[in-house]
Symmetry: C2
Subunit: 245 residues, 2 copies
C-alpha cells in the first residue's frame, strides 16, 4: 500500500456503500474494503460488493463470515427469517423498522476497527444514512460519535493519538437524501448496475429486485428525483415512485 | 428462561470469566454464555468454557466462530501467530503487551450486545481486569463506559429505556487483584481445575500450562497469595511465584 491515508470502507454491495467507497477513493484514500456475509437471503449483494471492490481499485477486500451471528439474531429480525415475503411491503413509518438487525452496525464497526488497526488504517467509512431510514438507532449521529469514542479508547492506535482521534468514523452520507446520494455516485462514476438494494428479490436466475419493498421504493424515488434512470431491472415498479419517500 | 434478569456472560474458559459467570449466577441471573473461537493455538480454553457453562447451569451457550477475524488480525498480535514460543516470557512492563489483539473486547462486546438484544437480556458481563494487565486499552473503565453508551444508543432495547441504560455492561472484577478473584471464585464454588489461562501450553495430549508465560505467572502468584493450591498441572513453575506480580 502507498503512503496515502488508509481507510477501511464497509461495503455491502448496496447503493450507499458503493458511493461511500467512491468518495473515499476520490479523496485519495488507500482502501481496505470489508463485506459481511451473514445469511442474507441471496448472494447478489455479495457479488455486487466484489464487483465494486474490483472496479474501484481497493487495495484489499475481506469478506467476513457472520453466519453464526445471522443464526443467533435471525429470530429477532424479519430480514434474516427463512420465510419469503416476511419483509414489510409498506414504507417505514418512523418507528424502528422490523428489518432492524440487533446491533448490526456495532458489530460491523467493531470488525472494521479490528481490520483498521491490523492494517494501520486510521479511518472507518460507513454508508450510514439517517434520512431514509431514520428509525434505525445505529444509523444516527450520536451512535456513530459514541462508537468513535470506543474506537479510540479501546485500541492501541487510538490511545496513542495525542488528540484522542487516532481512528475516525466517516459517514459522509449521513444527512444526504437518496437523490443526493444517487447524484453524487453518478458524478463519481459509480456503476449502479452493480449495486443491489432489494430486501426481497424475485426469482433465482438471476434474482431481480422486487420494486415494492421499502428499500426498492426509496431507491427508485431517489433515481426519479435525481432525474436519472435506475439501471437495474425490477420485477415491478410502483405506479408513482416519486410519491413514496 | 425464567422471569429473572437475563444476562449475557462472555466466557473464555479462563479463571476470570469463570468467576464472572459464577457471580452472575450467584446474583440470580439467567445466563446466556458466549464463547469465541478465533484461532487460539489450542482448544483447551474452549473445552473449559463448555465445562463451566455446563457446571454453572447456563440457559444457553453460544460458541461463535471468529476464525476470519483471527486470520485478519494474526499478523498484528503474537497471541495468534503460528510460530510457537513467540509469546513473551517476561512479565508485562506497563506498556501495551504484545499479546494485545486488535479491537478484541470491542468485537466481543459487540457480539455480546447482539446476543443480548436477540435474547432480551439487559446485561453483558465481562471478566475484564485492569489490575494485572493494565496495559490493555480495552480492559479499562473508560472504554467499558464508552461501550455501554454505544450499546444503549445503537440498539432498539437501549433507545427504548427511559434512563438510557437499557443495557448495562457489568465488569465486576475490573479492580480486583488476581488473589481476590481466586478467593471469590473459591467462595462461589468455581472448579478452577476446569479453567485454563496459559498463553503457551506445552505438549499435546493433553497440553499442560507452561508455568512461565505472563498469564501463568500472574495466575500462580494469585493462588499463592490467596493461600490456595492451583489445581492445574504445570510443565514448570517459577522459583518464587509470589514475586512475579
Amino acid at each position: 500500500m502507498t503512503g496515502s491515508t488508509r481507510a477501511v470502507v464497509l461495503l455491502s454491495g448496496g447503493l450507499d456503500s458503493a458511493t461511500t467507497l467512491a468518495l473515499a477513493r476520490a479523496r485519495g484514500r488507500t482502501v481496505v474494503a470489508v463485506t459481511f456475509a451473514y445469511g442474507q437471503r441471496h448472494d447478489l449483494e455479495l457479488r455486487c460488493a466484489r464487483a465494486q471492490a474490483r472496479a474501484q481499485g481497493v487495495a484489499r477486500h475481506h469478506v467476513i463470515d457472520l453466519f453464526t451471528f445471522g443464526s443467533i439474531v435471525a429470530p429477532a429480525t424479519s430480514l434474516l427469517r427463512a420465510s419469503p415475503h416476511s419483509v414489510p411491503r409498506e414504507d417505514p413509518t418512523g418507528g424502528i423498522p422490523n428489518t432492524y438487525v440487533p446491533a448490526r452496525n456495532t458489530l460491523f464497526l467493531a470488525y472494521g476497527l479490528a481490520v483498521a488497526e491490523a492494517a494501520s488504517a486510521t479511518e472507518i467509512w460507513i454508508g450510514a444514512n439517517a434520512v431514509d431510514y431514520s428509525g434505525y438507532p445505529d444509523c444516527r449521529p450520536d451512535f456513530l460519535e459514541a462508537f468513535e469514542r470506543v474506537a479510540n479508547l479501546g485500541t492501541k492506535a487510538g490511545r496513542a493519538a495525542p488528540d484522542g482521534r487516532g481512528i475516525r468514523i466517516e459517514a459522509p452520507l449521513l444527512t444526504q437524501t437518496k437523490a443526493q446520494i444517487v447524484a453524487l455516485g453518478l458524478e463519481l462514476g459509480v456503476d449502479f448496475a452493480q449495486t443491489f438494494s432489494c430486501y426481497d428479490p424475485v426469482g433465482d436466475d438471476p434474482p431481480v429486485a422486487c420494486g415494492v419493498c421499502p428499500s426498492c421504493r426509496i431507491r427508485l424515488a431517489g433515481f426519479a428525483r435525481a432525474r436519472h434512470p435506475d439501471p437495474l431491472p425490477y420485477a415491478s415498479r410502483p405506479g408513482n415512485t416519486s410519491n413514496t419517500s
